[in-house]
């Protein structure tokens, strides 16, 4: 118990040290550019300004909270649809060598394509820019989950498979009682990487598509509005939310890993 408290104490110390290092460098660069890049203190002022009325929901102006939720919703839909396809497909690829051999080259060709290349294609298909950015998130966040799920499903230990064979498990029971539970930690690893990609892609997507969201906020109010402070605030919010999403999936992954 005491050892654990000490461990947590040290991790807090390290975190604070890292943050101080970041702020120090930031402040130095700000001084070197003579305030062209706003200092941490000035940015804090902008942050407070941005954070006033986060839930303001007027037709002509939306608060930062509304923008954040709008971005999260878009990520949620794209990532959700992607996972809905990636997980079952991953099971199929992991269980069948033939399916793997057929699908794997497709995955290898499509996976490295830049998110930005998918946007115009989505636009051409859906004739609608918000839908195009969801499509972009969908197709970019598909791969890590697909690859990790299929890896998990293909590495089920013979011991577990033997149990299913020896006691005559039905296909459904095999999937729900052996395949899914064994693969779950791998699935969550994939989902964690996928949500990271999705969250990264959303900013680019919204810059291209416009509308309500953090990406458009960076472009319109930050860059076009001439406020570098707002860009910095947006970067910090995007980073913090990304970290939070990552932590959620890490804890899920730990929760479903079992000792043998």
């Amino acid at each position: 118990m005491k050892a654990k408290a000490i461990k947590i104490g040290w991790s807090v110390v390290y975190f604070v040290a890292g943050m101080l290092l970041l702020l120090g460098m930031w402040d130095m660069v700000s001084r070197m550019t003579k305030g062209e890049l706003p200092s941490p203190v000035a940015t804090w002022g902008t942050f407070k300004e941005v954070m006033t009325n986060p839930w303001q929901n007027d037709p002509d102006y939306k608060g930062i909270g509304i923008k954040l939720l709008s971005s999260l919703a878009r990520v949620g839909i794209g990532f959700g649809l992607g996972s809905l396809i990636a997980i079952p497909l991953g099971f199929v690829l992991g269980s069948s060598r033939i399916a793997m051999n057929i699908i794997n080259p497709i995955v290898q060709i499509l996976r490295p394509v830049s998110p930005l290349a998918w946007f115009p294609l989505g636009l051409a298909i859906f004739q609608d820019s918000p839908k195009a950015s969801i499509f972009m998130i969908f197709i970019c966040s598909l791969w890590p989950t697909l690859i990790n799920t299929s890896f998990g499903a293909s590495s089920i230990p013979q011991d577990h498979k033997n149990v299913g064979k020896a006691f005559g498990f039905s296909v459904w029971k095999y999937i729900t009682k052996i395949m899914l539970p064994y693969t779950l930690p791998h699935i969550f690893t994939g989902l964690r990487l996928s949500i990271g990609v999705a969250w990264m892609v959303i900013v680019a997507g919204e810059m291209l598509s416009g509308g309500i969201g953090l990406g458009y906020f960076v472009w319109e109010e930050g860059f076009n509005g001439g406020s570098i402070g707002k860009i910095l605030v947006a970067i910090l919010i995007i980073g913090a939310v990304g970290l939070l999403l990552d932590r959620i999936f890490t804890s899920l992954q730990k929760r479903f890993t079992y000792a043998v």
Binding site: N162, K165, A166, F167, F169, P181
Partner: protein, 289 residues
């Protein structure tokens, strides 16, 4: 009418062929079984032309050095391993794959780590005995867990149990589906001597509870264990192309008492015989050279 006659005729022919091998008390018939595996270096024959008959209610041990194909031979009975030539008959039917009439206890317990002790057994019962009602299945799980004294631990995950407890769960699981044949693949290999000894007694208790009607085939490399538990000990030659070297009967009365039998002359003779069969390669004379 003519179909019926043909049926009877076929049956008679079948019976006359099978009769010598399959008397009503025969539980397992291994007929001229060879198992070969394809490897990158060519075909590897693990066991060659083995025949063995096990009576109903008999306890038989397969013993031999590591890699002598004893687990492979056991696999042909469970249906996990397909014979390359020859056939295995279990309970009067040719073995094509695993079935609920043959319960298996695996070498490394093979419990599903995400299911509680209770669920591990329940899922097996649920799959193997589909015709039972839910209440009957629950009753079976409860009874078998109580027999191995693990009812208090029913909600634990396998990761929270000791090796001996895990093995008891695996045995309870195999017994719960009430197979007439029980196959144990080095079941006590990973246990310490004391736990192992207790498990032997537990196993025999379960066997007794069932009126000694279950046939048990066990793979082991422990001579004492083989003698204490078995009616016959099948000693195998070293692989590849392993065969049966000798079948040693164990004419000790049951119930056997672990402390007393070690002083029994019959025990000592059997022990010596098995020891000689297993380690004849290394005599003191060899070391002197």
């Amino acid at each position: 009418m003519s179909t019926a006659t043909t049926n009877i005729a076929t049956k008679n022919i079948a019976d006359s062929i099978l009769e010598p091998v399959l008397t009503p008390t025969t539980a397992i018939g291994i007929n001229n079984v060879t198992v070969s595996f394809k490897t990158p270096k060519g075909t590897y024959t693990a066991v060659k032309e083995i025949s063995l008959t096990v009576q109903k209610g008999e306890i038989v041990s397969l013993i031999g050095h590591s890699g002598c194909g004893k687990s492979t031979l056991m696999g042909t009975i469970s249906g996990m391993v397909k014979p390359t030539t020859g056939e295995v008959i279990a309970n009067g039917k040719k073995v094509f794959g695993p079935g609920p009439d043959r319960g298996i206890v695996f070498q490394n317990y093979s419990l599903l780590p995400w299911l509680s002790v209770y669920r591990n057994i329940y899922e097996a019962v649920d799959s193997a005995l589909k015709e039972l009602s839910k209440a009957e299945k629950r009753e079976l799980v409860e009874r078998n867990l109580k027999t191995v004294h693990l009812w208090d631990h029913k909600d634990k995950l396998p990761g929270q149990l000791s090796g001996g407890m895990k093995q008891r769960v695996a045995i309870a699981r195999a017994f719960a589906i009430n197979p007439s044949i029980l196959l144990l693949d080095e079941p006590f290999g990973a246990l310490d001597a004391l736990t192992k000894s207790n498990m032997h007694v537990e196993l025999l208790k379960l066997w007794n509870l069932d009126n000694r009607e279950k046939t048990i085939v066990m793979v082991t490399h422990d001579i004492e264990e083989a003698i204490f538990l078995s009616d016959r000990v099948v000693v195998m030659n070293n692989g590849p192309e392993a065969t049966i070297k000798e079948i040693v009967p164990v004419p000790l009365e049951r119930p056997r008492n672990k402390k007393d039998i070690v002083h029994d002359p019959v025990y000592m003779q059997t022990h010596d015989r098995l020891l000689n069969l297993l380690i004849d390669k290394f005599s003191i004379a060899d070391i002197k050279d």
